[in-house]
């Protein structure tokens, strides 16, 4: 498969990489973590921002049994209820194994889209794989984004309501990510230093996605 960068470059989409560290914290201690993050990140004097998103993952499988189907993540915000902003994200495969890199690095293409994207993707041949809701808190420090969120499974597909969701786990997912143009190693070090400060509460580390997926 062609390098995702060159593909992106050819089609005038800004090639960017996502640097990611993930961890989790039990719900009981989530408030302690929120307090800590509020002190560490920018804007300590404001209440932390909340967000509530609904994500659908679409898969395009090739004609032959290809190894890697293309995955598109379509996300929309549920916060202003009558004005959702839709967003498509494509994430490339990540290269793990490099001991010098502290974070997970993968190509990332982010595109804002209009609200008929689901229909469009269906017409193109994508099939909906799964969907879920994410709700949580959002912090930022410089260009680092930290989210503490809970993932909810949709009991019935369609419009996500409060009562048609159920939490999947008793813990929250903590993610530290930076989206930046390719080739800046400084970012990984900064992220690692930030993760060190959260150490006893939550351990942020790079998680190998390939090992997690069940085929």
């Amino acid at each position: 498969m062609e390098n995702t960068f060159s593909v992106g470059l050819k089609n005038n989409i800004a090639p960017q990489q996502e640097y990611l560290l993930q961890g989790s914290i039990v719900d009981l201690h989530r408030d302690v973590l929120l307090h800590r993050l509020r002190g560490l990140c920018d804007n300590a004097d404001k209440q932390p921002e909340t967000f509530s998103d609904h994500e659908m993952v679409f898969v395009l499988r090739g004609a032959t049994a290809q190894q890697n189907p293309v995955l598109f993540r379509v996300r929309r915000s549920l916060d202003p209820p009558d004005d959702p902003s839709w967003h498509i994200r494509y994430l490339g495969t990540s290269e793990i194994g490099d001991k010098n890199r502290h974070t997970l690095v993968r190509a990332c293409f982010d595109v804002a889209c209009s609200n008929n994207v689901v229909k469009f993707l269906n017409e193109m041949g994508f099939r909906s794989d799964h969907e879920y809701c994410v709700k949580g808190y959002f912090f930022h420090k410089g260009r680092m984004k930290v989210t503490v969120s809970k993932i909810y499974r949709m009991v019935q597909t369609g419009t996500p309501d409060g009562n048609t969701q159920e939490a999947m786990t008793q813990s929250s997912l903590v993610e530290l990510s930076v989206v930046a143009p390719a080739g800046q190693e400084q970012i990984a070090d900064d992220m690692k230093n930030f993760a060190e400060q959260l150490k006893p509460l939550v351990q942020l580390e790079k998680v190998d996605q390939k090992r997690l997926s069940v085929q």
Partner: protein, 627 residues
Amino acid sequence: MAVSSVTVSVEPVLESKIQEVKLDGQEIYVPPLSMSENLTKLAHKIDFYKDESDEKGKPTSEGEKDEAEEKVLTSFEQPSWVWDSVRNKLKAAFTEMAVLTDVLNIIKEKRYMVADPVSQDQPDNKPSVLLLAKKRGLVSAGSVLISGAERLKRSHSEHSNRAQDDYFIELLKIRQNWRLKKVGASILGDLTYKTAGSRFFQGGTFEVTKIVDDKTDTSTSHSRGSLEVIIPSELEGVAYIQVEVKSVPEMMDLTSVTLKMPAGLGVIRSDAYWQNKLEVAQNVLFCKELFAQLAREAVQIKSSTPHIVVGNQIITNAFPGIQLSIVLCHYTGKEKKIPQAPQKLEHNHVLEHSLHQLLREVHFKNINYVAPHPVNAMLGMSKRRRLAGPQGTSRRELVEMNVRDTLLEQIIKQTKHAVLRLRTMHVLDELALCIQDPQITAHWSCLNSSLECCVRINITAYGYEVVRSSLVLIIEVDTIQAILKDSRTITLSFEDKALQDLILWQISQHHIQVVQQLAKFHAWTVVSTNFNVGVGDIDLYGTAASLMMASPKGDKVLAFRSGAYNKIQMYLKEIDPSEAVDTSPAVTNPKWQKIIGTFQAVDVEKLQGKTFSQKVDMVMAKLTSMS
């Protein structure tokens, strides 16, 4: 037959029992019983409580008895066999009880037996030992109390010294107000605005130390506290930004500006309280950042008017003839003493405050990102920018979104607006003073911003306020928008004269409107009005207005013409019925008599009445004849 017999031996099993098997397979045998042990084992097997008559081995003294007796006995005793043991036990118990009673009786008699208690050793009740023990106890209790009292005394003496306590309390206070960090053995703090969004390169790290001197007397040490802060050398002293707007002769070259030395403000004392020191140092840093930003913009940005940066001054022309100068005054106390009279500083406090606010806004925008919804979206963009793609924003709109005014441009705009506003006020005030006839009143709106404000001007005639001309002026950055009564909009430049012309023109129009109203009162008929008269001399500004009205009977006609810069002219035509021209019989209606006649000019100055409307009122009253 002699068969060799097979010896059969009967032996006990000589194997000893296994007591334990060790982990390595070794077996430990129970050691075989010795003779004495064997004996005891057998003895235990004998049940002494069984009846002797059970045993076959009876004593031989009774052995000669008949077996029949035995049998009889045995047969006789068989039914009571079960209770025999019980009977014997009871018998034994009874015997023992009898013996005990006997012994007790004998003891009671005290003749042959006496019961004596068993003697015990008496404890030695020596008083000296007791005393020693008590003394030791008291000594230990006393020592505990003494050590406690000593500790209290020590802490009390420390309290009175106050040095140690104060340091920690002061450290707590300083920690509540400033960010401190312990690096090695020293405590460092941060003066910069970095956490509030500043991206200035200059650092402001101060160090916190303890004052350790016991020799100073209490009076000075009280005022200092026990904490000292050491401020970096480049932030020492006092600084402020001075903004001045002054008018200079227009032909003056910008390069020959007069440089001003900053007047000396008091320097902060070296033994001032740490909070004051830190605040002053932070202010110095803020002023430096502000000036650095302004200077950078003045040099880099190409604009229509040139800016000059000289040393610690930025000079630019807001309007031709109006100069704006921004000076960074930093007085460190190390300059040579210049014997000069203290200059009167002309600060424009409003603009200085605006500058501070603008820089704070820049800081705020650096830090406060709009939260991306959904969270995956790019950080740092406004929602409109994020939706630019899906909503198909054009390139021009995108460029507009990104273009933002620099600090210098913003302050220049504010200066221009301030100057324009002041000028407008000045013009209006002067006109109101000069022109008494219609009264000019200005109502300034209380809702205004630093770049826009609004004023409503009312022109009324004294005594005849029914008619009111009004116009609205919106004062913007460098133009004034005037909205007239009939909603025409005129854009005026920043010159005074334009506004003056406009107002005079409105006044002239107002005159005609008042006369129109008067005609209604007096029941005169307005023959014609024209606000854009196309005949006669061209006015200096605007158009002239004219009005012609006839008396109720039709025999008097008044005509008016007023322009911005011309005095109002009044003409009167009186029709004398005696001048009746011979009419032909074809003309039957007497009204045709009224068209003849010539107009005569009336000197408005000589008429009676204070204001023009009064004069006209009086004239009309006189000319109206009821007959």
